[in-house]
């Protein structure tokens, strides 16, 4: 039954072609576990997108406190807080598996940076940034910077003391750049200092602007990997693989 559906779509959309190029592509015989970090990073990125989208269904990016954004503190007394903090608190306490999804997003953020650093380290150690893969390396560098920006913008969103002051420090560091420092500071903060405007700005960057850019870059990155093939362990040449790569258009 599944085969019939597959054949129907394949005759109209060339699924076999996609299959051959993306999923059933060959890798040199010398690949080992070191070569898995790129896929792991991609998997974590997809996970972050999914968990992030779900969190966004309940999160409010507003630093305004209102009569309706009340959180019961550890002392048992309700206190008015910002709507952002109240919505995060609701995710943790009021929604089933909200805490699970938020923690996955939180730890996923840390893990993706670690996996990316391992990936970069492996590429560097094996010299896989050399010809013809220089463009891929450049795309990867930009992806790294964007992932770190994801971390910076996402850190502010809960709008609690730690988020606020960490962002103040980071934006001040940006402001200490000679010549353009003050302009950078005001562009990033959205004003003279980190405030409600910054929260809105960071939320838009974190959920709309950066995902768009990083999806395009990851697409380019993967395209280049498939085009140039995987460089196996340095010093161990797989002749059949090299010949196949050369003969492909």
């Amino acid at each position: 039954m599944l085969a019939k559906i597959y054949n129907w779509v394949d005759e109209r959309a060339n699924l076999d072609g996609l299959n051959r190029v993306l999923l059933k592509r060959h890798t040199p015989a010398s690949t080992n576990w070191w070569f898995t970090f790129g896929s792991t990073a991609l998997f974590l990125m997809i996970l972050q997108v999914i968990t992030g989208s779900l969190l966004a269904m309940n999160y409010v990016p507003s630093a305004e406190a209102s009569a309706s954004s009340i959180v019961v503190g550890p002392d048992g007394f309700p206190a008015p807080v910002s709507q952002a903090y109240a919505s995060v608190n609701y995710i943790m306490t009021g929604v089933p598996f909200g805490g699970f999804l938020r923690n996955m997003h939180y730890w996923g953020a840390t893990l993706i940076v670690i996996v990316l650093l391992l990936h970069i380290g492996r590429i560097f150690a094996m010299g896989a940034y050399k010809y013809p893969r220089e463009l891929n390396w450049l795309a990867g560098v930009v992806i790294l910077i964007i992932v770190m920006t994801f971390g910076l913008t996402g850190y502010l969103l809960p709008w609690d003391q730690r988020s606020y002051w960490a962002t103040v420090v980071a934006v001040n560091i940006a402001g200490s750049v000679p010549l353009i420092g003050p302009y950078l500071h005001s562009v990033i903060a959205g004003g003279t200092s980190v405030g409600p405007v910054t929260l809105t700005r960071f939320y838009a960057v974190h959920t709309l602007i950066l995902p768009g850019i990083v999806f395009a870059l990851i697409g380019i990155h993967l395209y280049l990997v498939i085009l140039n093939g995987v460089q196996g362990m340095p010093g161990r040449l797989d002749a059949a693989y090299e010949q196949e790569q050369k003969s492909r258009t």
Partner: protein, 244 residues
């Protein structure tokens, strides 16, 4: 009412799957022969896959007289094996299946919390008692056997919002003996506010002409599909209070 919807949905899905499984097993056990005529098949056509019974189940590779490998890897067609001996092939298939199975488990572990998270408002809907009440007024406001209209303001929690103000209109009838009939004034047709007409002894909805009896039962032949909703009303401290 919501439980009934889930039960019906569950029965529908299970019966669909059950029917599908039963039909698949039957087809495996009794394949349908293709040739109705008794003309003999020419010798040159023996072994032709196009004459096999299950032509619809054949992949495009078989129909095009290709092997699976030729179809998926035209570059390697005709080259030396490179490890595709039968024993490696079996190993490859097994590992592929295991990887897909583990992937399926991972997807399930992620999908169940995700679906519960998304469907949270549905799960919270049927939990019923919100614990909030609205005060309508002292008992003296409600003379015996007269329909009295009251508006109330209440605060409910919705999502991250605590104490969202809602207001409503309720019709209350003092039945005597500290019993009260409290009907919601929201028409069950499309949500307009109904009016009590004492001279007609009916509730009339101004939007589409829906009518209800004095007990709030919808009169057949008019638009509303169900009776007006009832609040639990009781007397607390000399005041009439309804549960929200």
């Amino acid at each position: 009412m919501n439980e009934a919807v889930w039960i019906v949905l569950g029965i529908a899905i299970c019966s669909y799957l059950g029917l599908g499984i039963w039909l698949a097993i039957r087809r495996m056990q009794a394949p349908i022969p293709v040739l109705a005529s008794s003309a003999p098949i020419p010798a040159a056509c023996s072994g032709c896959p196009l004459l096999q019974p299950n032509i619809m189940a054949m992949s495009s590779a078989q129909l095009n007289h290709q092997t699976e490998d030729e179809r998926l890897e035209p570059d390697r067609a005709g080259q030396p094996d490179g490890g595709e001996e039968p024993e490696n092939e079996g190993r490859r298939r097994f590992l592929t299946r295991i990887i897909f199975a583990i992937g399926g488990v991972i997807a399930l572990v992620i999908a169940l919390p995700v679906l519960t998270y998304i469907l949270a408002p549905v799960l919270q809907m049927s939990s019923g008692d919100s614990g909030k009440t609205a005060e309508l007024g002292p008992v003296s406001d409600f003379p015996q056997d007269k329909m009295v209209q009251k508006t109330f303001k209440a605060k409910v929690d919705e999502g991250w919002i605590k104490g969202k103000e809602v207001d409503g209109t309720v019709y209350v009838r003092n039945l005597g003996n500290n019993q009260f009939l409290a009907l919601s004034a929201t028409c069950t047709h499309l949500g307009c506010t109904v009016n009590w007409k004492p001279d007609q002894n009916e509730f009339v909805c101004p939007c589409h002409g829906g009518r209800y009896t004095p007990q709030g039962i919808n009169i057949p032949g008019t638009p509303p599909p169900k009776p007006l909703a009832r609040y639990n009303a009781k007397v607390t401290g000399g005041k009439v209070v309804i549960d929200l």
